[in-house]
Symmetry: C2
Subunit: 145 residues, 2 copies
């Protein structure tokens, strides 16, 4: 199992290896993401950092997220409300997908090996290189059920 601070050091290792300097904004965003389990939007990150007394420029937050995304260090999740959310991407490749509750809007994470296998077989059949996939289910969560 890949832990939280492990992700953080993985991120630092990758970025240092790619020749990037360190910077305050980057550290703050990485710290925050490392400690959050659910996906956060850029605006939520901005608000959370300000609330923690570590205000950070909007442009920097988007820049950091873009950088992390380019290096496959975060996963971008879009559930149809026009807002992009981000969560740590773990090096092993294990990942999960999301169910969006249409009643309360809550985001529920799940994983399913059968689904992953089906997508793997599909990639082979299509004969195209598939680097990434995202599955979004819509329905109602246990609370709203």
């Amino acid at each position: 199992m890949t832990g939280r601070s492990d992700w953080s050091s993985h991120v630092h290792a990758v970025l240092a290896g790619a020749g990037f300097r360190r910077g305050g904004a980057r550290e703050r965003v990485i710290d925050l993401l490392a400690g959050e389990s659910c996906a956060l939007s850029a605006v939520e990150i901005e608000d959370a950092l300000r609330a923690k007394g570590r205000p950070t420029g909007r442009a920097s937050i988007y820049r950091v997220l873009e950088l992390l995304g380019e290096h496959d260090l975060v996963e971008r999740v879009e559930v149809g409300d026009g807002v992009a959310r981000f969560e740590p991407a773990h090096p092993g490749g294990e990942h999960h997908h999301h169910l969006v509750c249409d009643r309360c809007g809550r985001l529920v994470a799940f994983d399913d090996p059968g689904l992953e296998r089906a997508i793997g077989r599909l990639s082979d059949r299509l004969g195209m290189r598939v680097d990434h996939h995202e599955v979004v289910l819509r329905g109602s969560c246990e609370t709203c059920g």
Copy 2:
């Protein structure tokens, strides 16, 4: 196989059955969608209608798309560029998903029974009602391969 004008009459039947009046904007959007195979964004619809000499208000286009969506007459597709796209949803429930080419941005449609079965089994396992699902693959298309 469900044809184009078939979708159009299905839409009219559903809306008439639900007690909606007809209106110019609605007809224009439905006509356009019925004739297009790929998913269109609201802005693309606005531009296409204006180009065809049938200019239609933006608010009306969004209203029509929302109405069609509420009645499962269109499928909303989001591929991560922050723009919602819409395409006719056929009554049988058969649908497809999309691969987005990261090089040229092209949208390629595909369907896969194995994937649908995996999602069906997953819904059962989760024990939550799953009304809808969307799968987006990212990679490179045949042209860019």
